[in-house]
Amino acid sequence: MSAVLQNLVNQPYKHGFVTEIESDVAPKGLNEDTIRMISAKKNEPEWLLEFRLKAYQQWLTMEEPQWPNVKYPKIDFQAISYYSAPKPRKKLGSMDEVDPELLRTFEKLGVPMHERAALAGVAVDVIFDSVSVATTYKQKLAEVGIIFGSISEAVHTHPDLVKQYLGTVVPVGDNYYATLNSAVFTDGSFCFIPKGVKCPMDLSTYFRINTEASGQFERTLIIAEEGASVSYLEGCTAPRFDTNQLHAAVVELVALDNADIKYSTVQNWYAGDENGIGGIFNFVTKRGLAKGINSRISWTQVETGSAITWKYPSCVLQGDNSVGEFYSVAVTNNHQQADTGTKMIHIGKNTRSTIVSKGISAGHSNNSYRGLVRIAPTAAGARNYSQCDSMLIGDQCSASTFPYIQVRNNSAIVEHEASTSKIGEDQLFYFAQRGIGNEEAVSMIINGFCKDVFQQLPMEFAVEATKLLGFKLEGSVG
């Protein structure tokens, strides 16, 4: 049994190549000067440097969290380079001036940087190591008042907006990695949808870590004003290195009255090899503030990569009648470890949240769901529904569920359902007897298992996610 299952899950990582490009890489190490250097490179205003330094001082007093259900050697923060940027040939005015080597890299990854390219109708901001290298459809979006581009640029073009919202959802001292990010973040996407505007196309950021032993600390800030709505997609890959790379991002979403933000991620960072060597440490803080009445924040994630994932996209439901959603598929194979889930913090009246989490473990991996549902005393009539399903492939892997439920209002209704299943030999034999091979059978069972989440994804992403899972689990059934 295991042999076929093994083969099915062990597909080579397709995005493991390195781009040969001249980069401006900062020396390894972290101290106040590193932070001043990053800030200076970006020519940042004084207030932002202070924001960073304050975070750094606070970070020095903090301890790395020990509670996640993952194991890894202690990270040497002095062995990481905190800034790496491809050297621009000249100042970038348009897409045509992007280094052709970069264009080829993203073409290879299937990310179109030409506006006329395949994924027409999606605006893309591309982040390579520490900097944003290109944003498509900028002009077109600007016509309806949408600001979409790199956060470094927004610091200069829209300083008031950045200053107003940065760190309001994930405060500087929120947690160890978020605080580190606040000190050293290099780039990320900024998106502002003004009052009443429905964003006419999906917005997307594509992250690529290229340089070995570099960290990626991106910072994304999305603001939807009253009545605005946006669907935002995020994709990530990294080359194959034997060393671990740290990715500690912070994403902040703010939804004002009647605003709607949908944030979808397909995470395919390099996961390390079959012995667990190398791979990305993905320690990410994502949080949305449903600030206004009737606002809605929806997270959909498909997590397939990373050696370790530590991530809890959360919703703070502050506005009355606001809605939070979390749909997640987390796949682990080989020696991958994932501790992922969500937090739904109900503050406003009649706030509602839905959690659908599907964990799939294969190989020797360890997959945990960790979720918090908190109903504050003010959240009269709050309602939560959580469903956590785990699927095991083979007999060397494990799955755990850690639900935390805190209810401080008697009128709230909270439901939690959980299940564990296993792909059985008899199921595979049944498929085989109908002419369907093991790989296709597993892919069909998995896709069926993940259906509730996949149908939340935008079309292109759903297709991509389905394919990705197929690759990911190839070789794992036997």
Partner: protein
């Protein structure tokens, strides 16, 4: 029906098989020709179902001796899915539940896989929908079967109908029906048997594995084989099934032992 000069489809010679090291099949000989319907009868534990699963290639069973040729090819050189694509079909005694996978998707995938193998056109979802609904009428199945997960939460009778529906879609050369009659009420039995009869042609063959004679009132076999302790101990025409019904399985065993002792 027995046809003169029809080609052997399945030739089993001296087949032995074990499960967990225990020998279950102890030398089976059987020849099935195109157009024929064979019934294999026997008590629980006689090895009937094991024989069916070994032919389909279930990995829990190890073949320890003998040969099986299917249309002149060594069946054991083919993986289970290759056997299925070559036209060996097993209607499961206990059809497997596959939660989350919609029946219509599953049926279309299996249909198209086998069609592709035969160099025939595959059907897109809309074409397939028309096609499968037509087949379902024959088995008096309600269309909501298509949207449900494969066998999940199906009643025993529904599961068995779903098996015969798959047989109708795949048009196998050799269909092995493993206790398809068990758990069916009399109406369901009639519907399933009618379905099987409509699918029998001079180019395919059917092996019915069953305990009871009652199925054979509906699907009339050309040959009846009695299995005991992993061997076929007696072969006869359809009358044999009726005799078994009257005298019980012991009657054959005693007769065999008497013959052996004589």
């Amino acid at each position: 029906m027995i046809y003169q000069n029809s080609k052997p489809l399945l030739e089993v010679r001296g087949l032995r098989a074990t499960v967990n090291g225990i020998e279950i099949l102890k030398g089976i000989d059987l020849t099935v020709r195109s157009g024929e319907v064979h019934a294999i009868m026997g008590t629980n534990g006689s090895g009937k179902s094991t024989f069916a699963k070994v032919l389909a290639g279930h990995s829990a069973y190890e073949v320890t001796g003998g040969t099986v040729m299917f249309e002149g090819k060594n069946l054991f050189e083919l993986a289970p899915e290759e056997r299925a694509r070559a036209g060996v079909f097993l209607a499961f005694q206990y059809p497997i539940e596959i939660p989350g996978v919609a029946n219509n998707q599953f049926l279309r995938l299996t249909y198209n896989t086998v069609q592709a193998q035969r160099g025939k056109d595959e059907l897109d979802p809309l074409e397939f929908d028309d096609f499968v609904r037509e087949k379902m009428k024959m088995l008096e199945m309600s269309p909501d079967f298509l949207d449900r997960s494969v066998n999940a939460g199906f009643s025993g009778g529904e599961k068995k109908r779903n098996e015969i529906l798959q047989m109708a879609l795949l048009e196998p050369r050799l269909a092995i029906l493993d206790e398809t009659d068990s758990g069916l009420d009399i109406d369901a039995l009639r519907i399933v048997a009618n379905g099987v009869n409509q699918l029998a042609t001079k180019d395919n063959a059917i092996i019915l594995v069953t305990h009871y004679q009652r199925l054979l009132n509906y699907i009339v076999p050309d040959y009846v084989h009695v299995m005991e302790s992993g061997r076929i101990i007696k072969t006869g025409g359809k009358q044999l099934a009726l005799d078994l019904e009257t005298h019980g399985y012991d009657w054959v065993s005693i007769e065999q032992r008497a013959a052996a002792g004589a």
